[in-house]
């Protein structure tokens, strides 16, 4: 099913889900504080336990959000990794758009003045 791509957007479909399984499984484990502590204590051992691919491990090491998405990460599970780093969704937004956090927030605010009547 070919559909026109949405710029700046990766849909988490079967292809992504297959690619990202190990990474997402690791991030799902971060629901548990014990696992978050284990990751922080030894990131490399923890990633090895979940059998991350070299590309996934590298993106984790570099805290590279776009890289993690490209490697099959799903935003709902990656959010738990962001939690470990103490990042909120606006930090993530800034990181992915190349803006500072202040600029990113400013951009969000500008949406307030979108005209209501424009064609949806």
């Amino acid at each position: 099913m070919q559909q026109r791509p949405i710029p700046g957007t990766i849909l988490f479909d079967g292809a992504q889900a297959m690619k990202g399984y190990a990474l997402n499984r690791m991030c799902f484990s971060f629901n548990d504080a014990v696992n978050r502590a284990a990751f922080k204590a030894d990131e490399e051992a923890y990633m090895q336990h979940y059998a991350l691919s070299p590309g996934q491990a590298d993106a984790i090491r570099r805290r590279d959000v776009l890289g993690l998405l490209a490697a099959g990460g799903n935003v709902y599970y990656l959010a738990k990794f962001a939690g470990i780093l103490g990042l909120d969704v606006q930090d993530l937004g800034a990181a992915q758009t190349g803006l500072t956090k202040a600029e990113f927030k400013e951009r969000l605010l500008r949406h307030q003045t979108q005209p209501a009547a424009a064609h949806p």
Binding site: I10, F12, N74, T97, A116
Partner: protein, 277 residues
């Protein structure tokens, strides 16, 4: 037979949990959001629902990709909240209404919805925070959670979610009980957390969508999931919960109150209270 008093919909951003825990409801950032709920509190004091059926989407707390259901219905005596990994306070358990759960499950399977039945189910911020927003003084309702997959594509279509809501509404209205039931849908409105398009918001679409729920509830079912992502963002598709809610409250409705505020976190925060006529 049970009676549906109306439908409530709201955004469910995790940060709301922090704001409630820290008592920031009156701060300039939060006030326009929390104030939107005040008229709804008054309405709920009048209609006094006893049970809430809640359409929400799990964000990787209860479901993982090893077993990812399209539609899941809770059938537990209580639903526990749990750590989602980012430190918003864990809330005490919510009471279930298992007899209604099973009545809904039986009706849905009879109507050819292939649900996953959950006799144990952790509920995340998308379930818990809206209940705290609608009932800040303490949640007086028992609950039935209905979870719709927005994590992994393919997602169920808008039309399918609306039909799910209709079937849930039929089940509630044929439940042998004299209880007053409110239907709740949580999520949306337009936002996108991931990718270079993070921060995307579409105010014109959101307002049109909210408007449609009052008098033209099937309007949004014209769009494919792909189109909805395009128009509302990767997380904006959570509007499927709003559509299911409106499907469950059939016929004409009275708009009790609506609110729309940009932004809460990265989200265009919307809220609607619709009374069944």
């Amino acid at each position: 037979m049970a009676r549906i008093v109306g439908g409530l919909t709201t955004s469910h951003v995790p940060a709301i949990g922090g704001a409630i825990a820290k008592g920031l409801q009156g701060e300039p950032y939060w006030k326009p959001f929390f104030d939107g709920f005040l008229p709804v509190h008054r309405w709920l004091d009048e209609v006094k629902p006893e049970v809430a059926v809640v359409f929400y989407n799990d964000h990787g707390l209860n479901f993982f990709l090893d077993k990812m259901p399209t539609f899941a219905v809770g059938a537990a005596p209580e639903y526990r909240n749990a750590d989602e990994g980012w430190g918003i306070p864990t809330l005490p358990p919510f009471q279930g209404q298992p007899d209604l759960s099973w009545h809904i499950i039986e009706h849905l399977v009879e109507r050819e919805f292939d649900v996953t039945t959950c006799q144990e189910m952790l509920v995340d911020h998308a379930f818990t925070l809206p209940l705290k927003l609608f009932w800040p003084q303490g949640v007086p309702v028992t609950t039935v959670p209905v979870c719709i997959n927005t994590v992994q594509f393919p997602l169920p279509s808008a039309r399918r979610c609306y039909a799910l809501g209709q079937a849930v509404g039929e089940a509630i209205r044929s439940w042998d009980s004299d209880k007053r039931v409110v239907v709740i849908g949580t999520g949306g409105l337009s936002h996108q957390l991931d990718g270079e398009r993070a921060g995307f918001i579409n105010k014109p679409f959101d307002l049109k969508f909210m408007d449609s729920l009052v008098n033209d509830p099937e309007w949004a079912t014209q769009y494919s999931i792909h189109e909805l992502v395009e128009k509302t963002g990767t997380q904006g598709v959570e509007l499927l919960m709003w559509l299911a809610t409106r499907g469950a409250v059939p016929g004409r409705v009275r708009k009790v109150h609506t609110n729309y505020h940009i932004p809460i976190s990265n989200t265009a925060a919307g809220m609607m209270a619709l009374e069944a006529l």
